[in-house]
């Protein structure tokens, strides 16, 4: 199990514009590290630079403590799973799995043994004699996975491996990949554009946008304390509601879109640092006003859209120029045009500096539930 370290890594194709810049990150041995970002953010390029398929224009890449900038891909001790699987169409599943071992001149008997073991782990034993074209998408995906695992490389790179599967299979493979990674303890670097995959699979995730790191950290920390508005709106579904806001002259709260007033007690600290602000609140933190409810910022909104999903109800409403969404658990009987009273808990608000994007007020009072504390046995 090896450490992967990127020190001030950058990439440029025309020697003028950096498509990726200032990447500083250390991926610990045995860690499941997820690179996530919208398409075109440079996450695949970064992965390919780690793999050695793209040249690194600036900075240092270290694998296992050794400088690896100019090592050829096969000398980097890693395996890779591609988005379109890249199976060899003329070889059977078994041959596909052992192909890399064959190249490394592993003995035939050892090859067979390892292939059998991996095939069993992934439920491919019955398909070893088939050609890739005779397999379903999910099975092909597993073959690609098997090919990566069988190499016993300490580092595994995956480039959106689940994006060609249907939703149900994707959920299944998510847990499968995570399980295998834990079992083998390999260092995994996983690229995806799907924030659900990032949240559920990663030990740590890195959010990239326009070739720059936005935030690195544990999924839950990123969800709770997004470093900037981009991260806040990228992670979480539906995304965080963000609107421009300004400080109230009396400094006891903020005005959102000049329409909603949210009183904040420690607004003093915000006032000192910034002029124009962005205020954000997660949909699930917009709560219904229950009869005899506690103190708070109650407002009336007009419902513009409703989605009842069975276990939760998502509805939207207009706040100034923007449409906000709220997520309430349970089934709520409401229709478009209804007036709904909502509660905007001031403690839940994230406040960003509009110019720098910096998070200047962290939300508080987030519910961290733990089994030990909450559950009575």
């Amino acid at each position: 199990m090896k450490r992967v370290e990127l020190i001030d890594v950058s990439k440029s194709y025309d020697k003028q514009v950096d498509v990726i810049s200032n990447i500083d990150v250390t991926i610990e041995p045995g860690e499941f590290f997820v690179l996530v970002g919208p398409s075109g953010c440079g996450k695949s390029t970064m992965l390919r630079m780690i793999a050695g398929l793209e040249e690194i224009t600036g900075g240092v890449l270290e694998i296992g403590g050794k400088r690896a900038n100019h090592l050829s891909p096969d000398k980097r001790d890693l395996s890779m799973v591609f988005q379109n699987y890249a199976l060899y169409p003329h070889l059977t599943v078994g041959q596909n799995i052992t192909f890399g071992l064959d190249v490394k001149k592993v003995k035939k008997t050892v090859q067979m043994e390892r292939a059998k073991e991996v095939a069993e782990m992934l439920g491919l034993t019955d398909y070893l004699k088939r050609k890739p074209r005779e397999l379903s998408g999910g099975q092909r995906q597993r073959v690609a996975l098997a090919r990566a695992i069988v190499s016993e490389a300490p580092i595994c790179l995956m480039d959106e491996p689940l994006s060609n599967l249907d939703a149900k299979l994707r959920a299944h493979m998510r847990t499968e990949i995570r399980r295998i990674q834990r079992k083998l303890g390999i260092t995994m670097i996983y690229v995806t554009h799907d924030q659900v995959e990032a949240m559920t699979m990663g030990d740590r995730i890195m959010i990239l946008h326009d070739g720059k790191i936005q935030q690195v950290g544990k999924p839950i920390d990123i969800y709770n304390y997004p470093a900037n508005p981009f991260v806040a709106s990228f992670i979480g579904a539906p995304p965080m509601n963000i609107s421009p806001a300004r400080m109230e002259p009396s400094k006891s709260g903020i005005f959102i879109e000049d329409t909603i007033h949210v009183s904040m007690n420690e607004a003093q600290s915000i006032a000192s640092s910034a002029r124009s602000l962005l205020a954000g609140i997660r949909p699930e933190h917009i709560k219904p006003v229950i009869t005899g409810a506690e103190e708070g910022n109650k407002i009336q909104v007009d419902v513009t859209n409703v989605e009842i999903l069975g276990n939760e109800t998502v509805f939207s409403f207009q706040v100034g120029q923007r449409e906000w969404m709220a997520k309430w658990s349970g089934q709520w009987d409401m229709a478009i045009g209804d007036k709904v009273p909502i509660l905007l808990g001031s403690e839940y608000f994230c406040v960003f500096d509009e110019e720098t994007g910096e998070l200047i007020r962290k939300p508080e009072g987030l519910e961290h539930l733990s089994i030990a504390k909450e559950v009575s046995i």
């Binding site: 050695g52 398929l53 891909p73 060899y88 490394k104």
Partner: protein, 272 residues
Amino acid sequence: MRDSTLKKVWIYFLLIVTSVMVFFPVLYAFMISFMSGPEILQGKFFPESFKFDNYLKVFDRLPLVKYLLNSFIVSLTVMVGQLAVCSLAAYAFVFIPFKGRDFVFFIFISTMMIPWEATMIPNFFTIQKLDWLNTYQGMSLPFFALAFGTFLLRQHFKTIPKELQEASQIAGLSRFAFFWKVILPVSKTSLVTLGAYGFLTTWNMYLWPLLITTNSSVRTVQIGLKQLQSQEMSTDWGVVMAGVIVVIIPTLLLLFIGQKQLQKGLSQGALK
């Protein structure tokens, strides 16, 4: 229901008519090869009896077996040579990035515009200076580099996903091993097509072997056929046609075998 049967009848009728038109010369040659001189002059289509006199005469008058062998050797050499040169060139054009690659390819392709006959004289002098007249290499070597073949294979190689190359790079395959173990097996279809094309064109080549050979040691069948025609004052067409049929047989065989392989390759090519 009746409409579709009517349509079928019409289509089959058209197919039969056109195939008869296409195949008539070969069929007539086949018939003539069994006829004697007077019979041919009478303009009959069917011979009185299927006698093999003409065939015996062909093998008697010409070293036809020797010619057939020569044709085989030359055609096979050209086929193998073309496959090797074209596939390697196409591989470089697709999988190895280098400066000016597209420009070089453009020049490569533009040589298709130059007719073979125009380059024949310089080629002849080259071969002559190398002292390769009346040799197999003189007959085959000038045809190894084929712009059309390179183009054909390049088009196929371009359909191969780049990820296959990257996957084998990570697995530690050398460039040539990737070419040998992945590219060639994956593009079997195009290789068979090009192979058949190369073999047949060389088999049917007339002008170049005529220029380059001066005796029967390496002469090919096509020249042999011409020899049959002009050996005597009045051409014995029966014998010539017998020769033609003998010469056609291997090409037809190759076509049938190749077609089977081709269909196999086509269905195997289905990737996704």
